[in-house]
């Protein structure tokens, strides 16, 4: 076929591009993943009934995880488009983690002597990251599926970003159940859970995200 004919064929009735098509596809996948993870938390783990009484620490926790969802979402969006720079989105993700690290550091400094350990480890450090990683699985699967229809220039990077987003989504659902209040705990173990998911995403991404 002549190239000119191909162009004619493609241009005919091409129609307008849906506005924000990429964002919509990614947000849809993340939201569906959040719903799935929430259902698993409610049915499998049970909701922490004292959650309403947690006050400040809960807001802190939700702010951290929520900000991470948005930033990782932006990063995933960048990583799914050819030729889009990642730098700014990476910087924002780092900035959020760094801010949380400062908050955690201050609480550790102000903690009464001998309590720093329990602030860091809480009572559930050994299960928290794994549960978050498992809860992020549905979101990760849906996101990878969505990104397959887009054009990630580097499958591994896009997979990592999707995993991070899925991990943050999983952490959001997990915070319904979690009874920990220390920012140091949230920083270390929530982030570990999201990172497990991110590395899983990178491993899958390098194989699945081809176009």
């Amino acid at each position: 076929m002549k190239t000119q004919e191909l162009i004619e064929l493609l241009a005919r009735r091409a129609g307008p591009v849906a506005s924000r098509a990429v964002q919509r596809r990614l947000a849809g996948a993340a939201l569906a993943g959040l719903v799935a993870a929430t259902v698993v938390v409610i049915a499998g783990l049970g909701v922490n009934l004292q959650i309403g009484a947690m006050g400040g620490p809960l807001i802190q926790k939700l702010a951290y995880v929520g900000a991470l969802v948005l930033a990782a979402g932006w990063l995933t969006d960048r990583a799914s488009r050819p030729g889009a720079p990642l730098g700014a989105a990476v910087a924002v993700v780092m900035g959020i983690v760094l801010t949380m690290a400062c908050v955690a550091f201050v609480t550790l400094l102000n903690a009464p002597a001998g309590q720093a350990g329990s602030l860091l480890l809480g009572s559930s450090w050994s299960t928290c990251p794994w549960r978050i990683a498992l809860l992020s699985a549905p979101a990760l699967a849906l996101l990878l599926w969505a990104i397959r229809t887009l054009a990630p220039p580097n499958g591994q990077v896009a997979g990592f970003a999707a995993g991070l987003l899925a991990g943050a989504v999983g952490a959001l659902a997990y915070s319904l159940y979690c009874t920990e209040t220390s920012p140091a705990f949230v920083l270390v173990w929530y982030s570990s859970g999201a990172l497990i998911s991110a590395f899983a995403g990178a491993a899958f991404g390098s194989r699945l995200l081809t176009w």
Partner: protein
């Protein structure tokens, strides 16, 4: 690409522009396989069309275009193997020619036709050294020319054959 809003004519001209750019991009990188360039241009145009939603109007269009072209190019190399890019030197053409002469009757007939078009002394030198397998010294003794003259004849003859073969394929 203002063409994203659904203006058919604008989209058509944008695609044509992209095609011209892509042709240049691939030509620069695949001098040895000009036949594949147009295929790759079309394949990339198709991807551009299917992925036009992933272009963010806030970013430079050329970066988007080049990222897709690069992806397609790497994809192409992976599919065809890098080695094919190296298979075009004169030495290689000569060697395939010679092995065909030994193996394949129809090829021998074609080569015979081409050999007939060579000047007699070049043809004789090639037949002696490459097909009968004589040494340069023996061929020189047979034709009565000096050894270096035989070498020069073989070399020029092969060069000419290679040029003919390439112009025909």
């Amino acid at each position: 690409m203002r063409a994203q809003s659904g203006d058919e004519a604008a989209y058509r001209s944008a695609l044509a522009l992209a095609a011209a750019r892509l042709r240049g991009y691939f030509l620069r990188r695949m001098r040895t396989q000009p036949d594949d360039v147009e295929d790759l241009v079309q394949e990339t145009l198709l991807t551009i069309h299917l992925q036009r939603a992933t272009y963010d109007p806030a970013l430079p269009l050329t970066a988007w275009l080049h990222a897709i072209a690069r992806h397609k190019f790497i994809d192409f190399l992976r599919r065809h193997g890098r080695s094919t890019a190296l298979h075009d030197s004169i030495d290689d053409v000569n060697e395939t020619l010679l092995s065909l002469v030994e193996d394949d009757l129809t090829a021998r007939r074609d080569i015979g036709k081409l050999l007939d078009r060579l000047p007699a002394e070049q043809r004789q030198a090639i037949l002696d050294t490459k097909i009968e397998g004589l040494s340069v010294a023996e061929a020189a003794a047979r034709s009565g020319a000096s050894e270096s003259a035989v070498k020069v004849r073989v070399h020029r003859g092969l060069q000419r054959l290679a040029a003919w073969v390439r112009s025909e394929t």
